[in-house]
Structures are given as structure tokens and as C-alpha cells.
């Protein structure tokens, strides 16, 4: 395995070590941008969350939150594992691997965030343990895990992507990872958080989730950029069979996430219905498909108006919120006559 030369294509097996000349500078830029957005769990202010949970929320809403936290607690770990075991192994460009290393750190940070959240929200150690066993004990979460298993683990035994079939298998893994897990399961889960926040509930959860969402958005953008690269280099992988598989996978993901919604909202949550969540998931799936240049499957408009809030910049009242919009790694020297 030679590390000095650049492989012709990003999926050519190997461990390329050559950063100059750089084949994919956009991955390196993404890495640098990610570094600037460093945050820590310690900055998240959970001070009002517990009293919200105890005093302001209904049983049905508490059920929703507990299920959600149980999903988050394991979801990011699943993502991290796939990143190490599959993506890092096969995406053969050192600048892309730099990004993945950074992403791995961010996934760990998310796990730490949700762990802190769980410790804060769930005082009973037994119940905490049960949350981590959600993959086995809570059917609606188990179904999601099975979905991941089916589409992600198929590449687990591949050491090298030697054949076209291997590459297609890997591509499906990547798409499941970026499009379905990050682009649908997480987008879906974030929607519940923002729904609660639009009612003024659980600011700690929402504040941290904002940062998680910012990270996940970048992860998804990176993964789709990799997909675009593969497609440019090996357009033949995107054959009819592939397109069929993708459509099937998304449809399965929407169904899977809908049954999760049925569990979460099953006890009656005012202002959010399974029907609306399904519409939102369909809308999200369509957007992912469109990004891939595939026809939209559902043609659904986004029914969750509160998600509009997610797409506009925040103006925090500093008396009430800590502002989350700063950058690290600011550079330059003192000059007194620069333009401003």
C-alpha cells in the first residue's frame, strides 16, 4: 500500500498520505471551518430545564423528552462507530480524513452533551441505564437501530473496495449515514426539540441542540460533497439499481421515523401531530433526494411552521441567553488603518 502518490479516485483503496498538491481543497476548508466552531458542553446552560420538566410539562411531553434523550444517547455513538469503521477506512484522501477526525471529535462531544443531559434530566440511575439499553428495550428505537444495521453494517466486512459492487455498497452506506441518519433521523429529532423551544421549554436542550445541529449540518454537507466527488469520478456507480436502492432506503427511513413519532407523540401532545411530523420527514427526504439529483418522491410542503425559526439567525437577549454565535481562531496583527 503506497502512501506517497495520490490515488486516481477517492475510493481507490489505500491510505494516501499526500496533502500537497491537495486533490480536494474543499474538504480541507470544511475542516478549518469546523475548527472555528468549537463549543463545549460546559457552556450550555441547563438551569431552567429541570424545573420546566417538573412544573411546566405534561406527562405526554415528558414521555416525548425521555424517548428523545434515549435516542440521542445512542444515536451519536452509532454514527461515530460507522465513521471509524467504514468512512475513515475507505475515503482515501488525507484532507477528507482530517475532516472525519474532526467530525469524530464532534460526535464524541455530542455524546457527552446528551450524556450530561440524561444525567440532568433523569435522576434515577436505573432509569439512566435503561435509556442506554433503549436499542434493545424500546421497540420504536430498536426499529431505527435495525434500519441502521441493515444499511450500514453491510460494508463492515469490506477491507478494501475492490469491485464495483463493493463501491456501490459503500456508497449506500455513506448515503444512509448522511441522508437518512443525519439528514432524516437527526433532523426529525431536532424538530421535537425546536417544537418544545417554540413553546419556551427546555432552553438547555435547545441551546446545545443548536450547536449539535450546526455540527450535523456540516457533517451532512461534507458527506454529500464526498458523494458528489465519487459521482464525478465514477458516474457509472449511479446506475438504475443504485437509484432504486436509494429511493427504497429513504422510504424505509421515513416509515421507520414515523413509527418513532407515533411512540413519541402517542400520549397526545398539543400542537404536534404524527401526520405533521410525517409530512416534515417527507419534505426532508425530498430535499436529500433533490441534492442527489434524484426526483422528489413525496412533493410534500413542510407543515412545521416552527421549523422556519430554525432557518433564521438568532438575536439573543443577553439578559436571558448566552449568545452562541462566536468564532474561535481569529487571526491577524494590530494595524490602525484597516478598513472596517
Amino acid at each position: 500500500m503506497s502512501g506517497a502518490g495520490r490515488p486516481a479516485r477517492i475510493l481507490d483503496p489505500g491510505m494516501c498520505l499526500t496533502l500537497r498538491p491537495m486533490a480536494y481543497p474543499s474538504f480541507f476548508e470544511m475542516y478549518r471551518a469546523a475548527i472555528k466552531n468549537t463549543w463545549t458542553v460546559e457552556e450550555v446552560d441547563f438551569s431552567t430545564d429541570v424545573s420546566d420538566l417538573q412544573k411546566k410539562m405534561t406527562d405526554a411531553e415528558r414521555h416525548l423528552v425521555h424517548r428523545l434523550v434515549a435516542f440521542f444517547a445512542t444515536g451519536d455513538s452509532i454514527v461515530a462507530n460507522n465513521l471509524v469503521l467504514n468512512l475513515y477506512r475507505h475515503i482515501n484522501a488525507p484532507e477528507a480524513r482530517m475532516y472525519l477526525s474532526r467530525q469524530l471529535y464532534e460526535e464524541a462531544l455530542h455524546v457527552q452533551f446528551y450524556l450530561t443531559l440524561l444525567d440532568t434530566y433523569v435522576p434515577d440511575p436505573e432509569e439512566r441505564h435503561r435509556a442506554f439499553a433503549a436499542v434493545e428495550t424500546i421497540p420504536s428505537i430498536q426499529k431505527k437501530a435495525n434500519f441502521c444495521l441493515r444499511w450500514l453494517d453491510s460494508t463492515a466486512d469490506l477491507n478494501r473496495l475492490e469491485t464495483r459492487a463493493h463501491r456501490k455498497q459503500f456508497l449506500l452506506n455513506l448515503l444512509c449515514f448522511a441522508g437518512c441518519v443525519e439528514g432524516l433521523f437527526f433532523f426529525g429529532a431536532f424538530a421535537y426539540v425546536y417544537f418544545l423551544r417554540s413553546r419556551g421549554l427546555l432552553h438547555g436542550l435547545a441551546g446545545g441542540t443548536n450547536w449539535v445541529f450546526r455540527d450535523e449540518s456540516a457533517h451532512m454537507a461534507f458527506a454529500f460533497e464526498v458523494v458528489k466527488t465519487i459521482r464525478r469520478e465514477e458516474p457509472e456507480l449511479f446506475d438504475a439499481e443504485m437509484k432504486r436502492d436509494i429511493a427504497e432506503m429513504f422510504d424505509e427511513a421515513v416509515t421507520c421515523e414515523t413509527q418513532f413519532a407515533e411512540d413519541l407523540l402517542g400520549k397526545g401532545v398539543v400542537g404536534l401531530s404524527v401526520r405533521e411530523v410525517r409530512g416534515y420527514l417527507e419534505f426532508c427526504a425530498d430535499q436529500r433526494l433533490a441534492t442527489l439529483g434524484l426526483p422528489k418522491q413525496y412533493g410534500t410542503r413542510n407543515p412545521l411552521a416552527f421549523m422556519d425559526l430554525q432557518d433564521v439567525q438568532e438575536v439573543a437577549n443577553f439578559f436571558e441567553r448566552r449568545v452562541s454565535a462566536y468564532q474561535v481562531g481569529v487571526v491577524g496583527d494590530v494595524v490602525l488603518d484597516a478598513a472596517f
Partner: protein
């Protein structure tokens, strides 16, 4: 807009005619749209517990009653969408709440829904209050008394004048509110029953209560009520929180001098800060006098750990004491840059490094002598000192400071010497990375302060929001109570054909006089949580009258924020406010007496604020007359003008904050009551007649983070007017602040903005702010390096990737990454 809505509704099978029953939507699995709702028999539980089937017509009628005069809202849409979010067995209360939220969620599409949501909420509040048998204003005050919430002065005043006051309530004024404003009032300001947590007053009863609590006569109360309820003038949050209650702490700002350099002094300050914070005050605290790291402690022969551990304790204390359960405590610590711990201080807000040295709850400010800026200019060295060795520096400014500093350098007392520019760069980095480490200027603040006429009087810090400049000492804790005039409600639209909107300076003058009288009254009513505040406030009687909605004025007048005409108006507003505030204070002095320390002020010598700026105001005749009157009669208040950030009260008033340009044409506010969408309604009003308020334009606005610069459809002049603050040169903001500064005897909360800041740009910007003579600046706002993916924007289907690859390599072979 309307046609669009109509076609959507038709798609689902529901007719738009109000009152008609919508037919069942097509049930194809993939035909879900937001307008449909399941046709299962849904029931709600009424307030008495009996179930009742949900009736769409009933909801439509209820919504319709609130739609009067709102041309572009659709009651049916709100009703059907409300039902679709309901579950079987929900309560009618939940139904009402949901209909409000549903209307509010449509604000982005059509800003009139903000009005509709506000009216629905007003109805909801009214129901809640009446449900407790509270109908008239006097009944709400009686209820407050019964529950132990109201003070006796208020209840007596209301008891004696019940009929006149009850008649004054003007329910229609509820319609002045935008949704976000009313929501804020409901969630946080209205008095609540201590057990049931239900509100016991309506918004109008609330305004009248505040007005009564701040007045000596009924006529005064009615005039104040008129100003509040028309949202023309709004007092600060602590006044709105506490007026008429048992603990009438009405002041916003407290400035605590640095603790003395010993344990007892340091711990006493924690208590002081906690007491002030409990009653809604924001805290400024200097720390110049406390010895630095490594300094010898004689009694134990050990070495000090410096100021950071003390501030870490303060950080925890601030987080622990919230403001009466209404908002979080907040504190800003000031440090002069000669203090040997300055570098550790600047790192306290970093989000990396040793957590034991990080204070996530504290705000930080640099209190900078001119000498430092001159050393930066000359690229010279800068010495850091342990205050234990140079104890006089905090109390000196100007030449005295510079002599003492030079002597200390010569005597070899410096703990460390650094390049001034290195430290300055560190300050800039802290601003860019955390927004904190505000740049405030000690010498100008002292030279141009009315209270520093006598030697030994020193301003040691500004406050939490950098708009208060008052002297402090060990015995005096400075206090200020605030109120802000909504400039956006001081304009007049010319008669048909006579041109556009102009600013109403006469109305402004009247409002200023009423406001100053009210602010002065607060000084006597105020409950003082610690003794050193009372001592200071009764001697100096400072008040801080500010403004909000300057941006509203410019939008109404269709002026770009930094256009020459806008600058002239901005300056003239400042001048008029200062003139009429001084006049009102002279009148009050004639009526009630001058403040006890008047003879110790610069005003007693005939010096006014603009003299310290070397500015001669227009119409100098009236100023000469006023100067003479000030000298002869005296002033009731040593300080009058301070422009606060108005974060919360601008929300209540539905205007842009203080003197700030808009941050975005589309943004959300994050508050304790949740997140709220804000669309620039002036922009929408311009776009609608052009047929440009479409889904495409809205998506572009979203993608552009609220900027209109990418809207090629928009005429050039509108693009200029509707720039966001990110698109504006900061030089103009600073220059406008300086123009205004000559008429502001305290200071202004001036935020500065930089999209992706670098040290060079920031160092030039703050250097300019200092050169222009600003006393203080506030946050540096910047934007995150990566963004959250747009969750609700349609992704266009790209052309086939294979074709794109070919095209790219053909058109641009050199830069195509694929070919390298």
C-alpha cells in the same frame, strides 16, 4: 399572497369562505399538506370538564372576531391548522393556546398574523382575568392587595380615585401590540396569583398600575398611562416588574466600586451584588484594587492567586441569584489594563482551557486609560502592575494618572512589561471570540462627567450595559433608573400629496418632560437593597433617559441608516432630548429643589456635556439662556441621558432596539418565553405593492440570512435602505455615535458588528472609536463560521451530476479540482 393561499386551500378541498365546513381532504397516503386535518371525531374537554366535539366553525368565528382590519389573514387557515395539531381529549384552554401559536407561526409568511396572534392572546388574557371576577382596574389592584402583592401607597391612591382611573382604561390600546410584545408582557410582567399562577391584571390594567405607582396626581397618572399604553415611552424592566409592589426596586443599574484589597471587602461585594441582583438590577463591578497573582500576603507569608479565583466565585454567585425568578442575574466586571492579571482576565470567557479559570456567566470590560491607546499608537511598551504596589492608580485619570504611572514605571514597580500592541491584540481576539471584553474609555468618561468637577471624584467603571457613567467610592454605589422613548412613535405622516413622513420634534419635547419627571420620582420611591446605593442616589439624583426605534424612524422616512439626512436627524434628536431634559430638570429644581451635590458639579460652573466634546450646538441662543438658568436655579438631577440597549422593552414596544440598525430583515428572538420570528414589516409593506412578497423572495431572504442584497428584483434605493447592520460600514455607526455623544451626559450601549472579524480590522475600528471620543462601546457581534442547514428551504434539483462534471472541466479547465 391571497391567491396563493386560496389555491393551497382548494387543494385540500377546504373552501376559503369563512364559516363553511371544509370537506374531507383526499386521503391518499402522500397527499398530506399542512391545511388538512384528520376527520376523526375529535373532542375537547371544556373548562367544566365535559367533553364536546371540536367544531371548526366555532373556531373560525372566534378567530374571525379578531381579524377586523387585517386584510391579509385567513381565519379558516388558522382554524384548520389548529385542529390538525390537536389530540383527542385536549382541553379548551389548550385549544385556545394552540390557535394563538398557530397564528404566530404564520408570521413569516404574512406579518399581519403577528397582529392576529396578539389579538387572540389579548382575548385569552382577558378571559383569564375575568374568570377570577376581576373586571375593573380597581378590582385588579384590590386583588393584588389581597394577595399581598401591592403596596399601600398604590392601593390608597387607587382607592381614592377608583372611578376616574377605571374610566381611563382604553381597551383598544391592546391593539398597539405586536404578538411578541404582548407575549412578553403576559409571560413576564403581569402580576400573577402566587398559587394558581394566573394573571390578575390585563395589559392595560398593568400599564395603569405602573402609571399610578409613579405619580402624585391623577392627571400625572393618566398622562403616563397614555404614554405607556401607546408605547410612546416605556420605563425600564425593573420599573415595570416592581412598581406598585411591596419591594419597589425600580432601578436598572448598579455600579459597585472595586472591593478593597482584603478578604472581608471581597466577600462583602458578593453579598452586595447578590442583594442587588435579587431585585432585578444589573451589576457593574470594578476589580482594579485587588492584588494580582504572586503578590505577597503579609499575614500568612503566602502568595496571592490573583483576581481570577475571586471572580470564579462571583460567577457562581451570579448564576445562583436570579432576578426575582424573572430573569437571570447578570454582572459585568471592569478591569484597567495595567492590572497584572489582565491577560488571565481576558481569557475568562474562552471556551477552552482550565475550567477553574473560566467564568461563563460574567461579562468582562476593559477600562482603558488614554495612555494605553497612545502606547498602542506609538507601538511602545506597556507595564503591568500589582495594585498593592500602586494603590493610587484606580482613583486617578488624565495627567495625574499619567504622572503616577510613569513614576511607578521609573521606580521599577512593574510586574511585567509587554508590547502595548500585543495586549491590544489580545483584547481584540477576546472580542472576536467571545463578544466580551468591551472597550470602555476611562479618561473621556471622567473628563466628560458632570460629577467629576471636584478632585478625588472618579468614575471607576461603567455598568452592565456600558451606558451609565457615574462616580463611585467605597461608600457610594452608583444607581440609575432608566426609561426609553420610542422614536418610531414620534413621527408624522404628511397630508395627502405633501410628501412623506417627518419627525415630530414638538411631540418629542413633551414626552421628554413627562419622562424626566417620572424618572426623578423613582429616586424618591425606590426601595434600596443596600445602604450605599441610597446614599449615592439621593445626593446625585441621576436618571437615564434613552431612546429606541431610531431604525423605525429611518424606515418610515425611507432613509438609509447612514445617509446624510439620517445622520442630521439622529444628531438633532440627541440635541433636542438633552435640551428638554435639562429644561425639565431645571423646572423640577425650581419646584422641588436642586440635588444636594449640585454645587459640586460641572453644570454649576455652566459647563454642559457638549463643552467637553468641543461642540457648539445649533440654536446657541436657547442654549445660552438654558445655561444661565441652570447656573441660577440648579438642576434636580446630576445626569439625565443614557442610551440603554432596550433589549426587552423594545420587544414590548415592537420597535428596533435603541440606536441600532436592524440586524436582519428576518430573524428570530430567543427569550425565556421561547423563540419568535421577526420579519421586517416595513420591508414587507414595500414589497407587497411591487408584487414581490412571494414564496421565492421569502426563500431568498432565508438563504441570504435576512439580507436583501441578493434580491435583484428590488430597486437599488430599497436595497440601500434595507441593508442589515452586517452590510453597513461600522465607521458610520461610530461617527453617528460620536455626533450624538456631545448630547449624552452618560453614555450609550453601542454594539459593533463584524461578520468574520480579524485583528487588523478590529484594532482599527476600536482605535477609531477612541479617537472619536466615545466613552464606551458594548458587545462585538460576529457570526458563526459554519451555519445550520436550512431545514425548510426547498432544494432545487441540480442538473445531472455527470453533465455538470463535463461542463465544469470544459469551461474552466484550470480551476476545476477534478482535473488537478
Amino acid at each position: 399572497m391571497l391567491t396563493e393561499t386560496k389555491s393551497e386551500v382548494t387543494k385540500t378541498g377546504a373552501t376559503k369562505t369563512n364559516g363553511a365546513t371544509p370537506s374531507r381532504p383526499a386521503t391518499g397516503a402522500r397527499a398530506t399538506t399542512e391545511e388538512s386535518y384528520p376527520q376523526t371525531t375529535m373532542r375537547v374537554r371544556k373548562r367544566n370538564g365535559t367533553p364536546e366535539p371540536v367544531d371548526v366553525n366555532k373556531i373560525v368565528r372566534a378567530v374571525n372576531r379578531c381579524c377586523l382590519g387585517l386584510s391579509d389573514v385567513d381565519a379558516m387557515r388558522v382554524a384548520t391548522k389548529t385542529i390538525s395539531g390537536l389530540y383527542d381529549g385536549a382541553t379548551t384552554r389548550e385549544l385556545d393556546q394552540l390557535s394563538i401559536q398557530t397564528a404566530a407561526a404564520l408570521i413569516f409568511e404574512e406579518p399581519q398574523y403577528a397582529r392576529l396572534a396578539a389579538r387572540l392572546l389579548a382575548t385569552y388574557i382577558d378571559k383569564e382575568v375575568r374568570g377570577q371576577e376581576i373586571h375593573a382596574f380597581s378590582q385588579s389592584v384590590l386583588a393584588a392587595q389581597r394577595l399581598g402583592l401591592a403596596n399601600e401607597r398604590l392601593t390608597t391612591f387607587v382607592g381614592n380615585n377608583a372611578r376616574k382611573l377605571n374610566d381611563a382604561i382604553t381597551v383598544e390600546r391592546d391593539r398597539e401590540f405586536e404578538y411578541f410584545g404582548l407575549r412578553t408582557v403576559y409571560d413576564r410582567y403581569l402580576l400573577r396569583h402566587p398559587k394558581t399562577r394566573m394573571v390578575i391584571e390585563t395589559p392595560q390594567q398593568f400599564f395603569l398600575r405602573i402609571a399610578c405607582a409613579l405619580s402624585e396626581t391623577v392627571a400625572e397618572a393618566l398622562e403616563l398611562y397614555r404614554l405607556f399604553s401607546t408605547l410612546e415611552y416605556v420605563p425600564s424592566s425593573p420599573t415595570l416588574f416592581n412598581a406598585g409592589t411591596r419591594h419597589e426596586q425600580l432601578s436598572s443599574c448598579f455600579l459597585l466600586d472595586s472591593p478593597e484589597d482584603h478578604l472581608v471587602g471581597i466577600y462583602q461585594k458578593y453579598t452586595d451584588a447578590a442583594m442587588l441582583s435579587k431585585f432585578s438590577g444589573g451589576i457593574g463591578l470594578a476589580y482594579h484594587r485587588v492584588r494580582s497573582r504572586g503578590s505577597l500576603i503579609e499575614s500568612t507569608n503566602g502568595h496571592s492567586n490573583g483576581i481570577v479565583p475571586w471572580l470564579k466565585t462571583l460567577d457562581a454567585s451570579v448564576a445562583a441569584v436570579n432576578q426575582g425568578g424573572k430573569r437571570k442575574g447578570a454582572c459585568c466586571v471592569y478591569l484597567e489594563p495595567w492590572h497584572a492579571d489582565i491577560e488571565d482576565f481576558l481569557a475568562m470567557r474562552d471556551n477552552t482551557g482550565d475550567e477553574a479559570s473560566r467564568t461563563h456567566n460574567l461579562n468582562l470590560a476593559n477600562w482603558i486609560p488614554d495612555l494605553f491607546m497612545r502606547r498602542v499608537e506609538a507601538d511602545a511598551d506597556w507595564s503591568l502592575f500589582d495594585p498593592k504596589l500602586v494603590p493610587t492608580l484606580p482613583d486617578l485619570y488624565g495627567d495625574d494618572f499619567e504622572r503616577a504611572y510613569a513614576d511607578a514605571e521609573e521606580a521599577g514597580l512593574a510586574s511585567k512589561t509587554v508590547k502595548a500592541r500585543e495586549l491590544y491584540a489580545r483584547m481584540m481576539r477576546s472580542l472576536a471570540q467571545t463578544g466580551n471584553g468591551w472597550m470602555t474609555f476611562k479618561d473621556k468618561s471622567n473628563r466628560a462627567c458632570n460629577q467629576t468637577a471636584l478632585p478625588g471624584r472618579t468614575v471607576h467603571l461603567s455598568n452592565l450595559c456600558t451606558e451609565i457613567i457615574e462616580v463611585t467610592s467605597g461608600a457610594e454605589t452608583a444607581v440609575c433608573n432608566l426609561g426609553s422613548i420610542n422614536l418610531g412613535r414620534h413621527t408624522v405622516r404628511a397630508e395627502e400629496g405633501e410628501g412623506g413622513v417627518s419627525f415630530d420634534f414638538e411631540k418629542l419635547a413633551r414626552t421628554v418632560r413627562t419622562a424626566i419627571r417620572q424618572l426623578d420620582r423613582v429616586i424618591d420611591l425606590n426601595f434600596y437593597p443596600i445602604a450605599s446605593t441610597q446614599a449615592s442616589n439621593l445626593r446625585w439624583r441621576p436618571v437615564g433617559l434613552g431612546v429606541m426605534g431610531l431604525q423605525d424612524v429611518f424606515f418610515q422616512m425611507r432613509l438609509a441608516f447612514d445617509a446624510p439626512e439620517a445622520r442630521a436627524i439622529s444628531k438633532r434628536i440627541a440635541e433636542e432630548i438633552y435640551f428638554h431634559a435639562l429644561t425639565a430638570s431645571v423646572d423640577l429644581a425650581a419646584e422641588k429643589g436642586r440635588h444636594p451635590s449640585f454645587e459640586e458639579t460641572r453644570a454649576a460652573r455652566g459647563e454642559l456635556q457638549f463643552d467637553a466634546w468641543g461642540v457648539t450646538p445649533d440654536g446657541s441662543g436657547r442654549w445660552q439662556d438654558l445655561r444661565t438658568r441652570v447656573r441660577e436655579v440648579g438642576l434636580r438631577n446630576s445626569l439625565l441621558i443614557a442610551i440603554a440597549p432596550t433589549a426587552t422593552i423594545a420587544s414590548i414596544a415592537g420597535c428596533y432596539e435603541c440606536i441600532e440598525p436592524q440586524v436582519s430583515n428576518l430573524f428570530k428572538r430567543e427569550t425565556l418565553s421561547g423563540d419568535f420570528m421577526q420579519v421586517n414589516r416595513y420591508l414587507v409593506a414595500e414589497l407587497k405593492p411591487l408584487g414581490l412578497w412571494t414564496e421565492t423572495v421569502r426563500a431568498k431572504l432565508k438563504m441570504g440570512e435576512g439580507s436583501v442584497q441578493a434580491l435583484a428584483e428590488l430597486p437599488e434605493d430599497l436595497r440601500l435602505i434595507y441593508r442589515t447592520v452586517w452590510e453597513m460600514p461600522m465607521r458610520s455607526l461610530i461617527d453617528m455615535a460620536a455626533d450624538r455623544g456631545a448630547f449624552i451626559d452618560q453614555s450609550q450601549s453601542l454594539n459593533l458588528f463584524a461578520e468574520s472579524p480579524n485583528i487588523g480590522q478590529l484594532s482599527s475600528m476600536y482605535f477609531h472609536a477612541w479617537k472619536q471620543g466615545l466613552k464606551t462601546t458594548y458587545y462585538l457581534r460576529s457570526r458563526p463560521a459554519t451555519r445550520i442547514a436550512k431545514a425548510t428551504v426547498e432544494t432545487p434539483v441540480p442538473p445531472s451530476a455527470d453533465a455538470a462534471a463535463v461542463a465544469c472541466s470544459l469551461e474552466n479547465p484550470e480551476s476545476c479540482e477534478a482535473c488537478q
